[in-house]
């Protein structure tokens, strides 16, 4: 079955530093979603990528999907305390429409 693996599991960075979170799929991706979750709350949609090599940016967050469509990275530039939270990657499960599978998340803490 298809799985999404995120790395690292947790990350502590100093405010102002850059960071990267990775999401690797065991199978070819037909779409990749990035979400942010505050502990115990709902998910905030960040970006969706569909094409190999695609890159999208929103404010200081950039996400890329590799050419082979099996890995995505999320890069935050000049991190701020407001970036703290759990970042989740999600992807449509092959053969099961409407069903997103998710990685286990990367917990980001930003020290002021």
């Amino acid at each position: 079955s298809q799985e999404l693996e995120q790395s690292p599991q947790s990350l502590i960075v100093q405010e102002g530093k850059n960071l990267t979170i990775n999401c690797t799929s065991s199978k070819t991706l037909y779409g990749l979603y990035w979400y942010k979750q505050k502990y115990g709350e709902g998910l905030i949609f960040l970006m969706m990528l569909q094409k190999g090599g695609e890159e999208k940016s929103h404010e200081k967050i950039t996400a890329k999907l590799d050419e082979k469509k099996q890995q995505s990275s999320l890069h935050i530039t000049a991190s701020q305390p407001s970036h703290a939270g759990i970042y989740l990657c999600g992807a449509p499960r092959r053969g099961s429409q409407g069903n997103l599978i998710f990685g286990k998340g990367t917990k980001l803490s930003v020290k002021p």
């Binding site: 779409g31 979400y35 709902g42 998910l43 409407g98 997103l100």
Partner: protein
């Protein structure tokens, strides 16, 4: 524009009881999805409703059921509650028309089963 709303925020039940969770999608969205986020298990897909019909369900027992109303809002029912049903239940909505649509999530309902 209002986002996805869910009610109640918190729900406490005892084993064997039934729980009903509600979700209102973003205006104009016809699809509603339900996910369970249990401690240590991550987010797991429960159900997908579109245009009033159940389109897909995840690997959950039949005591997890739901429906979608003509106004596209949705209800998730969990019968014969078990302790392991304690989790954050998240609802998401999307517009129709494409195979893969962005799913926008609500704040969730925290269900505690005692």
């Amino acid at each position: 524009e209002a986002g996805v709303t869910q009610s109640p925020t918190h729900l406490i039940k005892t084993r064997g009881q039934q729980a009903t969770l509600r979700c209102s999608p973003i205006s104009g969205h016809t699809s509603v999805y339900w996910y369970q986020q249990a401690l240590g298990l991550g987010l797991q897909f429960l159900l997908w409703y579109d245009e009033g019909e159940e389109r897909n369900r995840g690997n959950f027992p039949p005591r997890f059921s739901g429906r979608q109303f003509p106004n596209y809002s949705s209800e998730l029912n969990v019968n014969a509650l078990e302790l392991e049903d304690s989790a954050l239940y998240l609802c998401a909505s999307s517009s129709g028309g494409k195979v893969y649509n962005e799913q926008f999530f609500g704040p969730g309902t925290r269900l505690t089963v005692l």
